[in-house]
């Protein structure tokens, strides 16, 4: 059963002009794909291909213009606002910008459950500490502020926060792109472990082909808002069909 079904998704940005016509810039031009449960889908593309927009649309941070998105059998738009955070969550790209600099580590992680559940701060803190352990952070760092953590640790905080509500689908927008190479491997291993433990489905957006090849079951290649190729990751890299995919693979050093 597919967890997520996207049919003919279209999204445009409109720049309004005072005189003359408003200009429409299509970013997603009719995307269709499916994500089965418990699988990791890679989305690869360069700047302007629409991958970040796709993430925003799937998380309902932005609306889309045309098409259908079905999540777990229901229309994405129909999921109640209170339910949605428990279904889909996101890990953001920038480890510096994705955490509130004025909040302590445990507060950042505990906030999702403080908002959605009626629990005491003490209980929320306890659960946050548990999650911190799961993502490989020491409990004694719970009272620290984001600027006291390294990039890799901050990304772990972001992952911990996203998992607090036990979502079914986790969207990761370039989660390791801003990290040092030696830390990337650590975080990728963590993500793979967590995916198994929490039975997550993931959409993994990246521009780094080698990372995508390693982590994802299947990969989509996006080019200017259209899916130009889709294949199981191994096959995509050994036997690319589309001209653009070939170009991407050739350009990688």
């Amino acid at each position: 059963m597919s967890l997520l079904q996207v049919k003919n998704l279209k999204k445009s940005y409109v720049t309004k002009s005072m005189l003359g016509k408003d200009e429409e810039h299509p970013v997603l031009k009719g995307i269709s794909f499916e994500l089965p449960e418990n699988k990791i889908l890679g989305v690869v593309g360069e700047s302007g291909c629409g991958k970040s927009t796709l993430a925003k649309v799937l998380t309902r941070l932005e609306e889309f213009n045309e098409g259908e998105i079905t999540f777990n059998g229901r229309n994405l738009k129909d999921i109640a606002a209170k339910e949605f955070p428990h279904e889909i969550q996101m890990v953001f790209q920038d480890p510096y910008q994705s955490l509130n600099p004025r909040k302590k580590a445990w507060e950042i992680i505990a906030d999702p459950i403080l908002v959605t559940e009626n629990i005491s701060r003490a209980e929320a803190k306890a659960r946050a500490l548990e999650m911190m352990k799961k993502v490989g952070l020491l409990a004694e760092t719970a009272e620290r502020y984001p600027h006291q953590f390294s990039g890799g640790q901050r990304q772990r905080l972001g992952i911990a926060r996203a998992l607090m509500l036990r979502p079914k689908l986790l969207i990761l927008d370039e989660p390791v792109s801003a990290l040092d190479v030696s830390i990337q491997a650590q975080v990728l291993n963590l993500l793979l472990d967590l995916q198994k433990e929490f039975k997550l489905s993931m959409i993994f957006i990246s521009h780094d082909l080698t990372v995508v090849k390693h982590v994802c079951d299947e990969t989509l290649v996006l080019y200017f808002g259209e899916i130009v190729e889709r294949a199981p990751s191994a096959k995509l890299f050994t036997d690319p069909q589309h001209v653009y995919t070939k170009k991407l693979l050739e350009s990688a050093p």
Binding site: T59, L61, A81, K82, F84, P85, Q89, M90, F92, Q93, D94, Q97, S98, L99, N100, P101, R102, K103, I108, D111, P112, V115, T116, Y145, G158, R161, A162, M164, L165
Partner: protein, 287 residues
């Protein structure tokens, strides 16, 4: 939060100007608080035969450190009690303008659209008029008096806070930590006050400090024009105004209140500048 203030106090101590400002402010605060103990006379007490005596005069058993005014009141006592009024005025203006201004800035920046348009145009309107002039108009409508003067000056000070906060909100609201909060279902109100507002503190503190001195100055100006504190309230600006005609004969009646205004405004400006330098992340790596 605690870290923020610890670092801040350390940065202030390094900045000589800010430190001087802070010390002066503390001195004035102490003077204001202990005015009843420190002043030899009541502020509206008239001493027989002590008309326009120069500073340091001894008359019978009375010593007038700063001299007396044209009615026979001790200037030193009046200045001391005047510090209470001025500091109160400054504080009220900042509290009123900062709270209302911050709220409007938050709403305008976060919700955009018509909320933003209405609030921003209102602020533009206030800024388009010269501040003292506008304050005069408001007081003319409300009637003279210290409270109305405070209200008028607060209104005039609103745009500083509103625009400042609005700009910060615009910068913060598209950041990923705010998006994350939206994703886990935080309400707009929660995001505004728990996520965004704490990150707007630095410029708010600086503006608050500078706003204090603006408030004192503007109220003194209104007082000078007879629209602020009314007699016999010992407000420095009013005292200046009342002493105008005696500038040549009894200059201390004009100079001393003027110097007090100068010192308070200066000290808050120094503190505000020092705070701004301390809080500006780009100036962090000076040698």
């Amino acid at each position: 939060m605690k870290d923020f203030f610890l670092e801040l106090s350390r940065d202030i101590r390094k900045n000589k100007g800010a430190l001087a400002g802070l010390v002066l402010i503390l001195v004035f605060m102490l003077l204001a608080i202990f005015a009843p103990l420190l002043s030899p006379y009541a502020p509206d007490q008239v001493i027989e035969g002590a008309l326009r005596l120069p500073p340091g005069t001894q008359l019978n058993n009375n010593f007038f450190l700063f001299g007396t005014d044209d009615i026979g009141r001790d200037l030193f006592s009046r200045l001391l009690y005047g510090s209470r009024v001025s500091l109160l005025v400054g504080l009220s203006v900042v509290v009123l303008a900062a709270s209302l201004g911050t709220l409007m800035g938050l709403l305008a920046g976060y919700f955009g659209g018509w909320t933003d348009r209405v609030i921003s145009r209102a602020m533009d309107f206030i800024m388009a008029l010269p501040s003292v002039l506008f304050a005069i108009v408001i007081v003319a409508v409300l009637g003279p008096g210290l409270v109305n003067a405070i209200v008028a000056v607060s209104i005039v000070a609103l745009p500083n806070f509103t625009r400042l906060i609005r700009a910060q909100v615009l910068a913060e609201k598209n950041k990923q930590y705010v998006q994350a909060a939206r994703l886990y279902g935080a309400s707009h109100l929660r995001i505004l006050f728990k996520e965004i507002l704490p990150n707007c503190l630095a410029p708010l503190i600086v503006q608050g400090s500078l706003g204090f001195s603006d408030g004192v100055l503007n109220c003194a100006a209104l007082g000078f024009l007879g629209l602020g504190a009314q007699a016999p309230t010992p407000e420095w600006g009013t005292m200046l105004s009342d002493a105008r005609s005696f500038l040549e004969t009894s200059p201390w009646m004009v100079n001393l209140p003027g110097i007090c205004i100068l010192l308070v405004v200066l000290s808050f400006n120094l503190l505000g500048d020092g705070l701004r330098d301390a809080l500006d992340p780009r100036l962090k790596n000076r040698a």
